[in-house]
Assembly symmetry: C2
Homo-oligomer: 208 residues x 2
DNA sequence: GACAACATACCAACCAGTCGGTATGTTTGG
DNA sequence: CCAAACATACCGACTGGTTGGTATGTTGTC
């Protein structure tokens, strides 16, 4: 049964918006283009969204939901050691850096950069998406720190946020070169940073 | 003497463009706004630039020139030790993270993210700006590596680029929160990464 | 007087948002 | 049970302000 995977018009619009905005940016993406891509009309668009800004907020929330499920289902959670889970997360992020920049790039990172002064509502939705996603890493980081870097002076929250910052920066350089390899190379520095952080007390506790 | 700091019309336009684009993005910045801000007319604008895209390329090159001079004159070059110079660069980057995001944010990073698929010419000018700036760090990084991390498996070029990526990412999170402190906190992770990289052989050469 | 450096007036295309309308449910009163 | 009343989902032509770009005029300078 369950014959129809019937995607709602609203979701078709949001999927198309996600795709086009990641390619062209929010401002340069025309509502008509989104409608054409989604196979719906402008009437349908404005039936579901008050204006372009409201659609942007909805798209950011939709992005959070989609990527949230994606990462929740990823295999790195299965490791026993919290450090392995965290490194597994980074490896997973590296593994999905394939194709053109628009394919692996982050909708909310791109968008918040563009509209942070133009739309407080979209900015907030993007900020929530980034920081809530970072928050999902905090338990593993905190546990890993307790095991391997007890005395180090960084907070798990801060490191979780830095992983996002490093990845967002990797995306920017990748857009500049047009190559996924650039992003991968940058992300490998992030991995090395985490390795070094959690390797420190295997030698001695860093102090002075 | 030197009574007149007479800024050329072209530079007035480019300065205004830099300011406005950093606030609103390239696409959302109107040529009329740039002209108003610069105190010139549209005729002057199109006298100096063939079209908006050509202005974007010129602005990216202008940004390279301005920031290039700015960093060349910064005091971190005076350190004797190359690692201190490199860490001094990062500290300098941290020190200038003041005010609103639009004040400390990078024109070429913002712009390349937005137009990488729309304008190959602007994208290239932005990419050159980022990677040429990174290149200025390579001699110090290479010298520091030779002194403190001889066997580590990263290239100086790659690390130089990662400093840019980490900073660009820090800018994105700062735009999300609206706070300079966010960028500072992220940049401090970058500093710690470099410290750890170059501290490694004080204990032993990392290997397996 | 010729040419660069502007200024002013204007245009045509583009695009977010509107609006009158249709078609297909869903609810409710008798 | 049925029909009126209402609600939801959607269509697509139209509009009016915006904006990149142009065409032409004016001024200063070598």
């Amino acid at each position: 049964m369950n014959e129809k995977p019937k995607i709602s018009t609203r979701d078709k619009i949001l999927n198309s918006a996600l795709m086009l905005v990641r390619q062209k940016g929010f401002g340069a993406t025309r509502i008509d283009d989104i409608c054409a891509e989604a196979g719906v009309t402008k009437g349908a668009f404005f039936h579901h969204f008050k204006d372009k800004e409201a659609m942007g907020v909805a798209a950011a929330n939709y992005w959070s939901a989609v990527t949230g499920g994606f990462f929740a289902a990823a295999p790195y959670h299965l490791h026993d050691d919290p450090m392995d889970r965290f490194l597994g997360y980074i490896d997973f992020r590296i593994a999905i850096l394939q194709g053109k920049p628009a394919d692996f790039t982050c909708f909310v990172g791109t968008t918040v950069q563009e509209i942070h002064e133009a739309s407080a509502a979209i900015k907030q939705a993007c900020a929530d998406s980034i920081f809530n996603h970072a928050e999902t890493l905090v338990p593993d980081i905190a546990a890993a720190k307790a095991l391997y870097a007890l005395e180090a002076n960084f907070s798990p929250e801060s490191l979780a946020q830095f992983t996002q910052a490093a990845l967002q920066g990797a995306f920017i350089l990748a857009k500049a070169t047009g190559k996924a390899e650039t992003a991968i190379e940058m992300a490998q520095h992030l991995r090395r940073y985490v390795e070094l952080l959690f390797a420190s007390n295997e030698h001695e506790s860093t102090q002075h």
